[in-house]
Every structure is written in C-alpha cells, then in structure tokens.
Amino acid sequence: MSTLLTIWKKELRDAIRDKRSVLAAMSYAFFGPALMAVAFFFLISQLTDKEDIGINIHGADAAPEFVQYLNQQGIVEREKPWPSGTTPIDLTIPASWDEDLRQGSPVELTLKADWSAQKQQSDLERVEQAIRSYGSQIAAFRLLTRGIDPRVVTPLQVNKQDLATRGSKAALIMGSVLVFILMSVFWSGMNVAIDISAGERERHSLEFLLTQPTSSFNIVTGKALAASTFALFGALLTLVIVPGVFAFVPLSKIGMSLSFAPHMLLTMWLLLVPLALLAAALQLFVSFRAKNFKEAQTYISFLLIVPMAAAFGVEFAKVKTPALFYLPLTGQHQAFLSMIRGEDVNWQAALICSVITLAAAIGLYRVIAKMLRSEKTVFGL
C-alpha cells in the first residue's frame, strides 16, 4: 500500500514538472468549451436569423399583391447569384393566377427546392408558411363575402411555432456538452498515461522499476492513480469552465436553458471519478504494449474514438435499453442527461454503474500487472 502511494506521488511530481502533460490537461478545458460556444453561437444566430430570404420568383407579374405580401414576410426576389453547391429555391406563379382565383379553383404554385439541405430548412419553412397564410387569408375573405364567420372553418387554432428544428438543435447542443464533459477524463490524463508507460519503456527506466521489491499491481495502480489525478483535474476545470462559457451563448433565443448548479457539478465530478480510473486503465493497457511514445500516441488516438463514438451513438441514435444505465460511460451519460434536464436521477443505477466501472478498472489493472510479469511484454520479445 505504501509503495503504491510512493509511486503515485513520484509520478505526479514527475508529471507536474512536464509542461506538455500539464498543458494537455488544461488545454482541453480551456479551449474546448470556448470553441464549442463559438460554434453554438453561430448555430443559434443562424437558426434565429430573420434576414430576408432571397428566392427566385417566376411569374411575379401575374400576382403583384401576393408578391408584395411575400415581401412583407421577408421573402424577396433574389438579386445575388446562388452560391455554388446550393440548390436554388424556385417559386413559380402560374399565369392563370387571376383566372383561377376568380373561378374559385386552386391556384397551382410550384415550389422547387432541396428539402434535405440542412441550411435551407428554415428558409423553406418560412416560404411555405407565408404561402399558407396568404392562402388562408383568401379563404377568410371568401367566407366573409358569403356571410360566414371564417372562424367556423378553423375550429382548432394551432399556434404553430418553428420548434421542430430548434428542438433538435437544442438536443444537439445539450448532447454535445455532455459528451464533451465525459470525454474530459479520457483526454486530460492521456499524456501522463503515455509518459509513465510507453515513455518509461522508451527511457529505459522500466526494467529497473520492475526489479524493485514491489508487486507489479502496485506499480500499475500507482501509475493509474497518477494519470487519473490528471484526468480528474482536467474534468474539474471543464466542469467549472463550461457553465461560465455558456453564459455567453444566447441559448434562451432557442427556448433552451442550461443551468449548472454547484452541487450538480460536484455530483457530476464524483460520478466521473470511477470513469477516470477506467480511462487510465484503458490507456495504460494500450500504451504498455507500445514500444515508444509515438506508437502509444497512435494507438491511444484510436482508443479515444471508442468512447466518443459510444457516447455520440447513444446520444443521437436514441438507443433505449436499460443496460445503458449500468454500463461504464453510458451509465454516467444517462445520469448526466437526467441531471441536466432537471429530471429525477436514477441514483441506484448510477451507483451500480459506478461500482461496475470501478470493478472494470481494477480488473484491467490486474491484467496489466500480469502483462508486466510476462517477459514478452517487458522486453518486447
């Protein structure tokens, strides 16, 4: 036990003096949220943009009043050329507009566009909305001239707001923030983990360390604790900085609020502790197998993709199975999700998940310790 602490203290001191490790742990927390905030800032301003929409209007002469109405709604004849790669939005008004209206038969307008284009989604929505509302105005007039209250044909007043796209954007933002927080434990301790395993081998100090009268489990655990300490330091910074940065993002514009109470942040951090221990175990497992720092870095970058893919996959594929509450990473993710939504957290599941995560970490320490007793791994035979 005391050798474990000795190793932990030494590795920590060594890592703190390593500018690269410290910088790596802090850069994630400092630059990540800022970058994300900027991205969301633009996403939101794009979503809530009320600038005029320029579209191609063919046959405007046939229906000057309708075109004027569209102009009032911010939909105007396009003057600038369409950027390459963008499908133009084309509205064609038939020459028979007046004729059709007089006869009371539907006017066939043609709206040509690419509905799958993410950027044009809200533009199209507004164009359609404007056309619909002009149509219902005409309908109302027709009813009025026949002495009927137009309200009889709209028994249900739907106050439709453009929440469909905003809702999904809000989920995207929230999900990304959570995944970002989760990933902090994988990212911040990474450099330390590589340095104390593959780096130790590269510097030729591993052989001497292994000839000391202490069990390889102590060595592995001491090293993993040092890497986890860095990971948790990075996670703490992230948790402190994220709410601060997001205070500047106009989330309320899309009807969304992210509130991080101090006790919630603390709970999140505590839930990250076992995850950090597991992250360190995974990283040590991989980089003890590498011959040098560079090789370990390559493997670990692949390793980073796994939790990221898992977290994003669960987040956006909307996978729903109870197992998610208990598995490492997804369990913490689910707990965070409940917290951030202000729902009741399934504490029992969160606790079980923490125990499972911790058990997985310790199991991996044992595997690595066994690896270090094998001459194949130590000398790369």
Binding site: D14, S205, E207, T211, P213, S215
Partner: protein
C-alpha cells in the same frame, strides 16, 4: 551468495543459456566475462527474476527469484543493462524514490539517501534535475539507486561502459569498498583490464555455457598465456580443449 544451477533459456530458436552453473560468494567480486551475445544479460535477468529460466534455478541467499521475486529482490541491488533516469527529477529525488520502493522510511530513508550521495561524491549534482547529466553522472545516480538500501548482493550489467577514467576509478573503488564490507558482487563485462583489475573470480562464458572458472592468474596459468586477454581468446576459441 548467488547460486546458479543448470540454467537453460531459449528465445524461439536461439539457445541463450545452456546448462549454465556457477556461484558468486559473499565478500568477493565475481566477473561474468564473455563476448557479445554470450548470454550475460540473459543470465543476470534470470537471477533478478525478470526472465524465467526454461530449466534450472538461480538462488540468492537460497531464495529463488522466479518463485519469490519480491523476497529475492529485497536482497539485491541492481545496475541493469539499460538504465534510464527520470529527467524531470533531481538525483536525490530519484535515489529517494527507489529507497522508498525498497521499503525504507522516515529518518532512515533520509539518512541512507544522504549517505549514498556522500559516498559516491555526488553532492554537486544531487539537487539538479538529471536532464543533461553526463554519462559518468548518470552512472553515479544509477549506482546510488542500486545501493541506497545497502543490499547484501549487487548485480551490475556492464557498469563501466561509456565511462571515462575518473568515473571508472570511482566505480572500482566503490566496488572494492563494498567487497570489504562483505557484499556479494556479480558483474558482467567484456572489458579485460577491468576484470583483471577487479575480480577475485572470473566466470568465462561462451554460447550460454561456462567455458572456464578461476581467478585471473589461474586462468592465465591454465592457458599458458601471460595476459588475460590472450587467455580469454584461447578459452573462447578452443572450447573442446579447456571448457570440457
């Protein structure tokens, strides 16, 4: 005392050790002399338990390192084939770290560290970070790490490689001093002068086998040569004549 009996070890198709047997007594310096690739490092690694022998045993004070590695290593001070320093730690911090791993604590730890630094005359570098140390300074730190806990047995794998005359002298003086205190010292080398100057007994190794054993003078007499180098070449070269 280090007792090696019938050690054999193969790496895939290469036979590194072939029924190697010898002993290294307390209060003596035993040299393991052999050309490159003779199996010296493999033999030492088996003694301190990082490699497992296919057959045979290596015992330190009667403790087999492949059975009780931790107990065996407590008896040992090791100067490995390749030693790297922790460049961001000072020499004193490194020596202290290994002292702690050897189980020293409190005042005893602090005293042992200061003592070994004093003995190796490395006070001038003790509180400097080891990045940028010269080869001689590195050797001193590695030696200090190996002997901070005052082990009864010292195993050194080619300790003098890359050292200048002054550093080699410090190393030799140190080893003689430890021998006088009754330490069992086993070291490998392919440098003849060093072995001749230092060793009480020489174990000449070739192709994983013991080719000859004896004091430097005995080996010279055995081969009828006046210089150990010639004796060595003769032993290695004609293994059916003398090694049998």
């Amino acid at each position: 005392m280090i007792d090696v009996q019938q050690l054999s070890k193969s790496f895939k198709t290469v036979k590194a050790l072939d029924e190697l047997s010898f002993t290294a007594a307390d209060g003596e310096i035993t040299g393991l002399l052999g050309p490159n690739g003779a199996g010296k490092t493999t033999c030492l690694r088996i003694i301190y338990g990082l490699l497992k022998a296919d057959t045979g045993t290596a015992k330190i004070q009667g403790i087999n390192a492949s059975v009780e590695p931790i107990e065996a290593r407590k008896q040992l001070g090791i100067f490995p084939d390749k030693f790297g320093l922790y460049e961001r730690l000072t020499a004193r911090e490194q020596v202290r770290y290994f002292g702690e791993l050897q189980g020293l604590t409190g005042a005893k730890l602090t005293n042992s560290v200061s003592e070994v630094i004093e003995r190796l005359k490395m006070n001038d570098i003790a509180d400097r970070r080891s990045a940028g140390f010269s080869q001689g300074q590195r050797m001193k730190v590695a030696l200090a790490q190996a002997m901070v806990h005052q082990p009864g047995h010292l195993i050194l794998d080619e300790p003098s490689r890359g050292l200048d005359v002054m550093s080699t002298r410090i190393l030799r003086d140190m080893l003689r001093e430890l021998r006088a205190q009754g330490t069992c010292i086993l070291f490998s080398s392919h440098v003849m002068q060093e072995v001749a100057a230092l060793c009480d007994r020489v174990v000449v190794m070739a192709k994983g086998k013991v080719a000859a054993v004896g004091s430097p003078t005995e080996l010279c007499e055995l081969t009828g040569e006046s210089a150990l180098e010639d004796a060595f070449v003769k032993i290695i070269g004609s293994d059916e004549g003398i090694a049998a």
